[in-house]
Every structure is written in C-alpha cells, then in structure tokens.
C-alpha cells in the first residue's frame, strides 16, 4: 500500500521513503525530480510570453482556451509554468476555495489537499503537482487557476493588476474600478450592449509597452449576479448557471468576432471609480487626482520595492488619464452606460465609432 503512492506522511517518512525504493536501482523520487513534463507550448498571457510544460494534454487544452498561442521559438519567456499530473491522486470536484500564501519570493497555491503550486517570483516560474481530476476541469483552469497564477506573478513580470473591469472600443479602453459588488460587471455588460468589447470583468492587467500604457484581460466569462441579470434581455429567460458564495450567478461568454479579439490589449483613455450610494442618484464627476491615486494604490497588491518602482510607471500613466467618480444607486445600467458615453466621451464620440 505504501509503495503505491508518493505521498509521505511526516512522522513515518523514514519508513516510507525506504519502502518506496524497494526493487528499484534508483533512490525514491520523493521530490519528483524526474517527473516527465515533456509537452510544451508557448503562450501570451496579458501581454507576457510564457512557456507551459506538462504531462497533461488537458492542461494544455485549458491554456489554449485561456491564452493566445505563441511561437515556440519566442525566447526568452517572461515566465515559465510546469505542471505535473500525478496519476495516483484521486481527488474530485467540488474544489475548495484556493489558499494562497507566500513569504518573500516563494508563493504557495493550495488548490486542494493533493493539488498545489509553488511560484518562485525570483526566477519567474510556477511549478505544480496536480491531480487528474483537477487537470481535467478546463473551466476551473480558465476561470480560477490561470487568473490566480497571473495575479501571483504579475508584479514580477512587470504588470500591474487592478481589481477592475475593462471595456474597449477598437484600441481605446475604459477602466472601471470598484470593490466587489460595486457593479463593474453589470456596467461592463451594459457598455457591451453599446458597442464596447469586454477585456475583463474583474481583473485588469496594465503594463507599459513601447512607452504606451496598455490594458489586458484574460479570456474569462463575465459573471453577473441574478439580480443584475434582470436588466439584460438576453438573460431574462435563462436560469443562473452557477452558485457562488450562496448566490446564483450567470456566466456569460462575451460575444467576440474571434477568440483572439478577447485577448487583444487596449490603450486606456479613462478611468471610472464606481461607488454604490444608498439613495437614488446617478452622478458622474471628475475625481481629484490625489484621491484617484490613493484608491489605485489601495487596490494594488504589495510588492517589493524594485517591483513597485517598475509598476509606478504604469500607474502614473493611468492616473494621468481623466478619472471620474460614478456615484449611483438603482437605475438601469444601460442608462448609466449612456450617461458615461455622453458625459465622459461626449467630446470624442469617434472613440466609439459612433
């Protein structure tokens, strides 16, 4: 029984490790030094080039659906992923809430008792040992695992991650910043009805490339709570697709001309800070730059000083854009979207191709 798995119980590790080596010329590979991860492809994730090595076609498939494919000759990469699927592990969904903790450059991601990852931000790589059940859950990789991975490595590869939605018309984008339940996804959906494309409904990545501020999203479905869905005709007759935190939610796949369109970056042209109000009001006012900076800083994850210095350029570029405060309560999101279009983009309607 002991030799059937590579899991080691702490108190009897000496016994166990020895058991493992029975009948083999080699010592036990407790650390899986020689784990086979020969399948390798390259991708572009939030503008960063990464390689993914694995022994699982299913994980590769999940990555293909989440990122843009890149040439294998494209070296050097910005970060490396290496995931080994241990066929002896037998965990099944539902998966517990991921547990993420780190110290200094090492960040651990516990996906369940048997599936986990370690990110080394110093060498910009993430390695992991995954159960077959988790490897097969491509939707979970696309909606949960890959976004977490990118959040963890973002700073080390020169990205700033904002808790924000982002929509764009052509190359020009609008960033919607706000805490959970502030209505970012609902407003993004309403703006999509007005001709915008969705880059991101929850996490937006910023970087400076060729001196230009760029925003990236991930290929994720947009999440709407049940009450918000009632505003949208296309959702009226549908049942919620998921239960999350005790709430019914819809996952909507954004309509794009092509899959790669969803992953194309945009150049942000403005920022809207969403604030839910108690009393019925819709007010869009310019935000004081100092206040915008304070809110932005509070939204970004703590990093080492060298990473923060690199991030500051992107944050400064974003804060140099027009920043607006949207205070609202109730009201049709389409009307609020129209208000934004009129007030915020009124002078540059060509921005929307209108």
């Amino acid at each position: 029984m002991l030799a059937s798995t590579n899991i080691v119980s702490f108190p009897r590790q000496g016994i166990f490790l020895r058991e493992q080596s029975l009948g083999h010329m080699q010592p036990p590979d407790f650390l899986h030094r020689d784990a086979e991860t020969a399948l390798c492809e390259h991708f572009v994730a939030a503008g960063a080039l990464c390689s993914l090595s694995t022994n699982s076609e299913q994980i590769l498939d999940a990555a293909r659906s989440a990122f843009l494919a890149a040439s294998s000759e494209s070296v050097p990469v910005d970060f490396r992923l290496r995931f080994w699927v241990d066929s002896t592990d037998a965990s099944r969904p539902p998966w517990p809430k991921p547990y993420v903790r780190g110290l200094d450059n090492l960040v651990f991601i516990g996906l369940d008792a048997r599936s986990s990852m370690l990110a080394d931000l110093r060498t910009r790589r993430v390695i992991g040992r995954i159960s077959p059940g988790l490897a097969a859950d491509s939707q979970y990789w696309r909606t949960i695992i890959f976004p977490i991975l990118l959040s963890v490595v973002a700073g080390s590869i020169g990205l700033v991650e904002l808790h924000a939605s982002c929509v764009a018309s052509g190359q020009e984008g609008l960033v919607l910043v706000g805490p959970s339940r502030s209505g970012k996804s609902t407003l993004a959906m309403a703006l999509m009805e007005s001709g915008f494309r969705l880059l991101s409904d929850d996490r937006t990545f910023l970087s400076i490339k060729d001196g230009q501020l760029r925003a990236f999203g991930l290929s994720r479905p947009l999440k709407l709570r049940e009450d918000a869905a009632s505003w949208f005709e296309e959702l009226c007759d549908r049942e919620p697709t998921d239960l999350q935190g005790g709430e019914n939610v819809f996952y909507c796949e954004p309509k794009h001309r092509s899959r790669s369109e969803a992953l194309l970056p945009c150049e942000p042209r403005g920022v809207v800070f969403l604030e839910r109000e108690e009393r019925s009001v819709v007010r869009l006012t310019p935000m004081d730059p100092g206040e915008a900076q304070r809110r932005m800083e509070a939204d970004v994850m703590a990093e080492t000083s060298d990473v923060m210095a690199a991030q500051q350029r992107a944050l400064d570029a974003l804060l140099a854009l027009p920043c607006w405060r949207l205070q609202y309560a109730g009201g049709r999101p389409q009307e609020i979207a129209e208000r934004i279009l009129n007030s915020f983009y009124g002078k540059t309607r060509t921005l929307l191709g209108a």
């Binding site: 702490f10 016994i15 650390l31 110290l103 008792a113």
Partner: protein, 357 residues
C-alpha cells in the same frame, strides 16, 4: 513585540547563543508600503529569531511566533554550540491559526524543479525551499507547535532539514548508525530488516545510538563523517513481542494505516550530538536460516548504497554525492544474514572493537 517575548519568558534567554531575539522591522526582503494590501502575506513579519546550530551548521530560524522558534531550539538542542556569524540557511516560519492541518497523520505531497522544492501538508500548510537563495519558508498550523517537539513539531523541522541537507553539504542516506566514541558503523537494510531493533540492542550493549532511519554523511577536508538523525527511534508493533520494555519506554502512535512506537534515543546518546567516522558498512538481511557475514564487493556496495539514498536530489549535488559514495565504498562492507537480533547487535559491537563498549 518585546512585550510578547517577555511574557513568554523568551527575553530571559537572550544572553545565550540560541536566544530568540525579537528583531524590529524584519518584514521580508523589503518593507511593505502601508498603502498596499498584502493579500498573499508575503510581507508577514518574522521578528522572532534564533541562530540554531545543527551538525556544525548554523540555521537562522525566524518566525512570526516565539513558540515556533523556541520549539526549533528545543528540537536541535543536542547540536547547540556557538553559531556562525553568517547563517548557512534561513528558515522563515509563519504560524497560522486556520491552516487546518493539525492532525499528526497529515500527509506530505512534494514536488520540485531545479533549485526549488516544496511540500504541502493538506491544502493549507506548506514548506518551500529556494536552494540558490539558501532560504526556506513555511506556513504551518499553530497547533502543530503546541505539544512536545519530538512527537509533533519534529516533523516540520526534520522535514525542512532533510529538504535543505544537500545545500548544507550533507548526503542523506536511509541507514541506521551506531558508534563507539569517534567511530561508527553504518547499518543499511530494507524495511523490516531489523535496523532499528539491531541498533537498539547494540545500544543496550553499550554503543551510542546515533540513528535508526537516516544518516547524514559529509566530507569535511576529504574525510567521511556521519551524523545521526533527529528523530526518535521508530519500532513496529511486532518488535514489542521480544522487546517488552518498550511497552513502558516507547510511545505508541496510531495512524490510519499504521501503528508505531516511538522511543527517544537520548538515553543511548551523548548529551551533545557529534559525528562519527564510519569504520565499515553492514547490510542487514533477516532470514530464518543460518547466520553468516560475508564481504560485499565495492561495485555491489555502490549499487546498494545508491538505492539507500533518502531521495533523488537536485542534480547540482551530484558531485557532492559521488564524493561521499566514493569515500564510503573504500570502507569494508559486509552482508549480515541473521536470525537472532541480539547476535546481530553483538556483531556490530565487535566490528567497532572492545573499546567501543
């Protein structure tokens, strides 16, 4: 922080070389800006510090909790000595109340890549080692450090040490070791071959009980030296049939699929841990037939010892391991086929000479 140290009695020990010194401002590689959120806890302060001496190496143990540092000091107490000015490795350990992995039978799953390695105990407790940075980090359940270190907390420190051993210039072998003064015998054998029992019986005959599970081998100045392990001896339940005294001296622990008896080796060890120079290696083979001891050829010896490496190490340690194997293969080696463990123990004593007892 100082108040916490005083309350726990830690401050009183600050004058010793192993003092746990609350240090102000240790916040990881860089201080976290107050304006940003540390969602990943990467900037958790570990102000409680002790430079712990282990096998003539110095490990700087830092923790968010003074109890964890104190447990580390207790765990390595046999190795204490003046620490080096520059630590050989840094361990940063954070105790969390909600790791939910307090059960002693929790299992460790491990994985690695060149230069980094990690293991997790359940979903919410882990340890990770950055070999190049000579640093290990861990998040553990606070409850794991509340009871006796040898029986609960030991697993964390022992596992961390095993995962750092290569970087510390040590080769970890699955072997027992008994000694007399500065000399020792390395005892190899498959599981249930009687390493623990034979070594224990040899210790009862007067030898020092350095190890029953893992031997750490080093090559300072070209000479091979062996350090014993850090754990209690582990006996299987059937050993109690012919070692009835273990019923009172050993502690029984049950796991879902295994029952074992832990015996502290302290009664059979010098107060201070010390390395031994191995005079020979013995491969145990318990059989019902006649007892005999036969020499093992150097080629066969190398093959067998390779099988007894604790686990495959990072390839960067290959030359270090090869040097140790080369040195060990120069020693006399024997296969000891035996039926009676007492007789096997006597033979181990004989190999070390009369003075050993």
């Amino acid at each position: 922080m100082q108040a916490v140290a005083e309350k726990t009695g830690v401050a009183a020990r600050c004058a010793t070389p192993f003092a746990i010194k609350p240090e102000s401002g240790r916040l990881g590689d860089a201080a976290r800006p107050e304006s940003r959120q540390d969602l990943l806890r990467r900037f958790t302060a570990t102000p409680h510090v002790a430079n712990v001496r282990v096998m003539d190496r110095t490990i700087r143990v830092e923790s968010s909790r003074p109890q964890i540092v104190e447990k580390a000091r207790e765990f390595f107490v046999r190795h204490e000595g003046p620490p080096a000015a520059t630590p050989d490795f840094v361990w940063r350990i954070v105790g969390e109340a909600n790791c939910r992995s307090g059960a002693i039978d929790i299992q460790l799953a491990a994985f690695s890549d060149p230069g980094i390695r990690y293991g997790n105990m359940g979903q919410r407790s882990f340890l990770a080692v950055d070999i190049e940075a000579r640093k290990a980090v861990a998040f553990v359940d606070e409850r794991a450090v509340e009871s006796e270190p040898e029986f609960n907390c030991r697993s964390l420190f022992d596992t961390l040490f095993c995962m750092c051993a290569g970087s510390l210039g040590l080769m970890s072998l699955s072997a027992a070791c008994v000694g007399g003064g500065p000399k020792g015998v390395l005892v190899f054998g498959s599981p249930n071959s009687g390493k623990t029992t034979t070594s224990y019986l040899a210790a009862r005959q007067g030898l020092e009980f350095h190890s029953d599970q893992v031997a750490f081998v080093e090559m300072p100045e070209g000479k091979v030296r062996v350090w014993g392990d850090l754990l209690p001896a582990i006996f299987r339940p059937e050993s109690l049939q012919f070692l009835p005294e273990l019923r009172s001296s050993a502690r029984e622990f049950s796991y879902p699929d295994l029952r074992v008896h832990y015996l502290s080796k302290r009664a059979f060890q010098a107060v201070r841990a010390h390395p031994v120079g191995p005079v020979c290696c013995v491969f145990l083979d318990r059989q019902s037939g006649e007892s005999r001891m036969a020499p093992v050829s150097p080629a066969e010896f190398k093959r067998r010892v390779t099988e007894n490496v604790l686990f495959l190490e990072d390839q960067r340690f290959d030359s270090q391991s090869a040097a140790v194997l080369q040195a060990l293969s120069a020693l006399p080696a024997y296969e000891l086929t035996y039926r009676d463990p007492e007789m096997a123990a006597t033979l181990l004593c004989d190999l070390l000479g009369d003075k050993a007892r």
